[in-house]
């Protein structure tokens, strides 16, 4: 097993956090440059939240994604950021799987409008979730090794 102190481990952790952070910043930027109602419509199409909650999520989630992205890229509060990333991606992935399994032909809402949920989006988000879980594990293992 690769040691948490090895260069390979560190490089893999750096690559994962910069990649995930960059993706989160990009996703946030796409949402923030369009009116919040557009993202609200994507959330609403999942049909799980009342309209008030949809509005709240649409107005706040992109800022949260931006914050998490910046934390990942800079490496500040890495364990908390990695947990938040895994939780967010876990929820997104779960909702997408549910929509796909029930035959809902709706927009993923991941990177703005115009992207229907498909096996490709599931594969992409599933890979991101796997990467995020790996990063979370790495962040804790490295901490333990350092402590």
């Amino acid at each position: 097993m690769i040691s948490p102190r090895s260069n390979t481990f560190r490089a893999a952790a750096l690559l994962l956090r910069v990649l995930l952070g960059g993706i989160f910043i990009y996703a946030a930027w796409i949402k923030l440059r369009t009116p919040w109602e557009v993202f609200a419509m994507s959330i609403d199409s999942y049909q799980i939240l009342p309209v008030r909650a949809v509005e709240l999520v649409a107005r706040t989630l992109p800022w949260f994604e931006l914050l998490v992205g910046i934390l990942l890229v800079t490496g500040l509060g890495l364990r908390s950021a990695a947990i938040a990333t895994s939780l967010l991606l876990g929820v997104f992935f779960g909702l997408m799987v549910r929509a796909y399994a029930t035959g809902q032909q709706i927009n993923c809402g991941c990177f703005g409008p115009g992207e229907l949920i498909s096996w490709k989006t599931l594969l992409r988000d599933g890979s991101l979730l796997a990467g995020s879980l790996a990063l979370t594990w790495m962040a804790f293992v490295r901490r333990r090794a350092a402590g």
């Binding site: 369009t34 009116p35 109602e37 557009v38 609200a40 419509m41 994507s42 609403d44 199409s45 049909q47 309209v51 949809v54 032909q105 709706i106 927009n107 409008p113 115009g114 992207e115 229907l116």
Partner: protein, 197 residues
């Protein structure tokens, strides 16, 4: 709902069509601050829902009061067997000022003609005998066929990935939105916010 749609039929004028669309397929005041372009497929169930549930409210609150200029574009998807044919009839009907009644009829009878292929029967139900003759002739006119193809081309340049897609235009800003399962309340909020800017 239907009453509202027919009430605005008088506004269905080709004063100054949106670029790339037949003048018979626009509604409202061209100088309205916001333009809404709807890219739709007559055989798509989500387009039927949008046409029957969201469009009448949009017309009532924004198009008739002159706040929104509405343009309808055909975007028949290759996966739908008869939607191109339906688009041809609809554009032919637009040439004689009967787009909306024919579009209403095609969406209303969608389930039936998409199974049987009897598209003309559904479209003809909205027309009188004289209009039927003209629309049937126009539906094979090269100009009409080119018009449908042109509208598909406009959609591809957006680019449209699904139907219905609504493109909200305010000044130089163009916002494409999925029309699937769209909640009118949110569309209304968006239009109100854009109108303030």
């Amino acid at each position: 709902m239907r009453v509202c749609v027919f009430a605005v039929a008088a506004l269905w004028m080709g004063w100054a069509a949106a670029p790339g669309v037949d003048p018979g397929k626009v509604i409202g005041t061209p100088s309205a601050p916001i333009t809404v372009e709807v890219f739709s497929d007559f055989e798509c169930p989500a387009c039927k829902t949008f046409h029957e549930n969201v469009l009448p409210e949009l017309m009532r609150d924004y198009v008739i009061p002159g706040k929104v200029f509405l343009a309808s574009f055909e975007f028949p998807l290759p996966m739908h067997r008869y939607s191109r044919q339906a688009a041809d009839y609809a554009v032919a009907a637009a040439r004689i000022g009967e787009y909306l009644p024919v579009a209403d009829a095609l969406f209303r009878e969608q389930q039936s003609w998409s199974a049987s292929g009897k598209v003309w029967e559904a479209a003809a139900g909205a027309l009188n005998p004289a209009q039927r003759k003209r629309v049937q002739a126009l539906a094979t006119d090269p100009g009409v066929l080119a018009e449908v193809q042109n509208e598909i081309g406009v959609g591809q340049r957006v680019p449209i990935n699904e139907t219905p897609t609504i493109v909200v235009i305010r000044g130089s800003r163009s916002i494409p939105i999925s029309g699937r399962l769209i909640r009118y309340e949110l569309l209304k909020q968006l239009l109100d916010d854009l109108a303030k800017k």
